[in-house]
């Protein structure tokens, strides 16, 4: 499906990609991780045909640079930083839909599922939306078409827990027919979403490993947290995960998305001294 063969990219004298060889098959969900400057974004830009490079990049045997429209017609891309577009939301959706030969209503529907009321913001400039709204819209544009490859750079970073759950559901719907590459600085952000991890450092692949595919994207975990005493900051964090409190804000209960379990435990770990009981059980 996707093949990188000895890909090398230099910026002036700095080598940013140093002989990348990767084969990614249909249905694989790859976490592309690494620190800043590791080469993740450069690799993605080579895959999108945006950078010239040595070596070969092919998607279904086609070079993304010389077969732009055929290749990019099958790729849904969500950038890490939303572009500062001044055009209205409606215009962006129509433009993307027209280029990708999809129905704008499909994008509207996905945005709606993510909790974004598109109809209300059609005339608003994209750049004036909040970070979360921009992210939802870009995800809706990427998923609102027949993309066989999804490339996402920190896609869920700006989403609230509820939108993350729906985002995971949306990805789960594409598991059989799409290949996903999800880039992140941290593995815990994306660990639940992927079945393969590729770690980059200094322009090289330093780890390429399969991940036990036990976590399903649609899994839900019933969560119960009991606090030894009330702490406003911790309570606020738990409320952010849509957990409901009882017993004078000491007992918190609710559902956590399966792929979010590591991320959730990361939040809990900051307040371990306050936790007197914790349970996470699959529904």
């Amino acid at each position: 499906m996707i093949k990188f063969t000895n890909v090398v990219k230099d910026f002036r004298r700095a080598r940013v990609l140093d002989g990348i060889n990767l084969d990614i098959g249909i249905g694989e969900r790859v976490a592309l991780i690494g620190s800043n400057g590791a080469g993740k974004t450069t690799l993605i830009r080579c895959l999108l045909g945006e950078y010239t490079h040595d070596g070969e990049v092919a998607i279904n045997g086609l070079d993304p640079r010389s077969h732009r429209t055929e290749v990019l017609g099958n790729i849904g891309f969500v950038p890490q930083l939303p572009p500062p577009l001044k055009m209205p939301v409606g215009q962006l959706i129509d433009f993307s839909a027209a280029l990708c030969a999809t129905d704008p209503k499909r994008i509207h529907a996905i945005a709606q599922r993510l909790g974004l009321d598109v109809e209300a913001i059609l005339a608003r400039q994209f750049v004036r939306l909040s970070g979360g709204m921009k992210q939802k819209l870009l995800i809706a544009i990427a998923l609102g078409r027949e993309a066989r490859v999804l490339i996402m750079d920190e896609p869920a970073a700006n989403l609230d827990p509820e939108a993350r759950k729906i985002f995971f559901d949306l990805l789960a719907e594409r598991l059989d027919d799409a290949t996903m590459i999800i880039s992140s600085h941290r593995l815990d952000e994306v660990s639940g979403l992927v079945n393969r991890v590729v770690e980059m450092d200094m322009g090289k692949v330093v780890l390429d490993d399969k991940v036990a595919d036990a976590v399903t994207l649609t899994a839900r975990l019933a969560c119960r947290v009991v606090l030894s005493r009330f702490e406003p900051a911790f309570a606020k964090a738990l409320a952010g995960w849509n957990l409901r409190s009882s017993d004078d804000n000491r007992i918190w209960e609710g559902d956590i998305a399966g792929p979010d379990r590591l991320r959730f435990l990361g939040i809990i770990s900051r307040y371990t001294a306050l936790v007197s009981d914790l349970s996470l059980s699959e529904n």
Binding site: E50, T52, I75, P79, P83, K86, Q91, L99, Q125
Partner: protein
């Protein structure tokens, strides 16, 4: 073709909301309004009165403002978009590079030319309402001259945007190009002629390679067909082209320069890194 128009439309919508466009429109609309306000249509200079007097002044002012405005705003927005990640996202969509680049030029051309033309058209409509005689020949030729001027500097602007890798560099280069053309216009050629280093014919021919000089001379030729104000230089120009020939040259050469610059810009853009 569909992709090209989609890109052009996108660029128009983006530009209409940009501050530079609002200022740009205000400047040219404001010039016409001020010229009317100061009663220029009633004054008589060099035998010109009425709307022709206004048009002569308008095109002189436009020649001073439009090139630097078009150069700076084009490189700022194109190089700025690339730096801000707009290219990274929009070029991840299935649009061909030719449709993208030429679509941007078409969109931007409409946005750059429309305010200048509409301001002049507004003056003509107002004059018609007021019963002032409209010099249609002059209006037609000035419109063509403005259209070509916009194309020329847009093409140069797109070339600079394709070469420069940052907004600062692009802006600096655009300013240097404009300054070079401006200096080339008067100081350099005048200097070498005075020193007797080049033949006057060569100096005049070199001056005509400068689009700013071509526009200025063409605008002069419309109310001074013998180019008397240019002195002996006029002989070289008129011997070489003739009055009508020069009018055609003044449209064809800058248009070709703009298109060639844009085409070179396109090949550089297509060959290199996009974002």
């Amino acid at each position: 073709m569909k992709q090209l128009w989609l890109t052009a439309k996108l660029d128009i919508v983006e530009s209409l909301r940009a501050r530079w466009f609002q200022i740009y429109t205000l400047v040219f609309g404001g010039i016409v309004a001020l010229l009317f306000l100061f009663g220029l249509t009633e004054s008589r200079v060099l035998g010109f009165i009425g709307l022709s007097r206004l048009l002569v002044t308008y095109i002189q002012l436009t020649m001073a403002i439009l090139p630097i405005f078009v150069l700076i705003t084009t490189v700022r927005s194109v190089a700025g978009d690339r730096e801000a990640g707009v290219f990274e996202y929009l070029l991840s969509l299935p649009v061909s590079l030719s449709a993208w680049f030429w679509g941007k030029i078409v969109g931007r051309y409409i946005v750059v030319f429309a305010p200048v033309f509409l301001a002049m058209l507004g003056a003509v409509i107002w004059a018609s309402i007021q019963g002032i005689e409209v010099p249609w020949d002059m209006f037609g030729y000035y419109t063509a001259l403005l259209a070509v001027m916009a194309l020329c500097f847009l093409g140069i602007g797109m070339l600079i945007s394709a070469i420069a890798r940052s907004t600062d560099m692009a802006q600096g280069a655009a300013f240097m190009v404009w300054l070079f053309l401006l200096l080339f216009l008067d100081l350099i050629l005048l200097g070498v002629m005075i020193q007797g280093k080049v033949a006057p014919e060569l100096a005049v021919t070199l001056a005509l390679a400068n689009p700013l000089q071509v526009f200025r001379t063409a605008a002069l030729a419309l109310f001074d067909p013998q180019l008397i104000v240019l002195g002996p230089s006029a002989y070289v120009i008129l011997d070489l082209f003739g009055t009508t020939g020069y009018k055609i040259f003044a449209l064809a050469y800058p248009a070709a320069l703009g298109m060639v610059s844009a085409t070179i810009g396109y090949f550089i853009f297509r060959r290199g890194d996009l974002p």
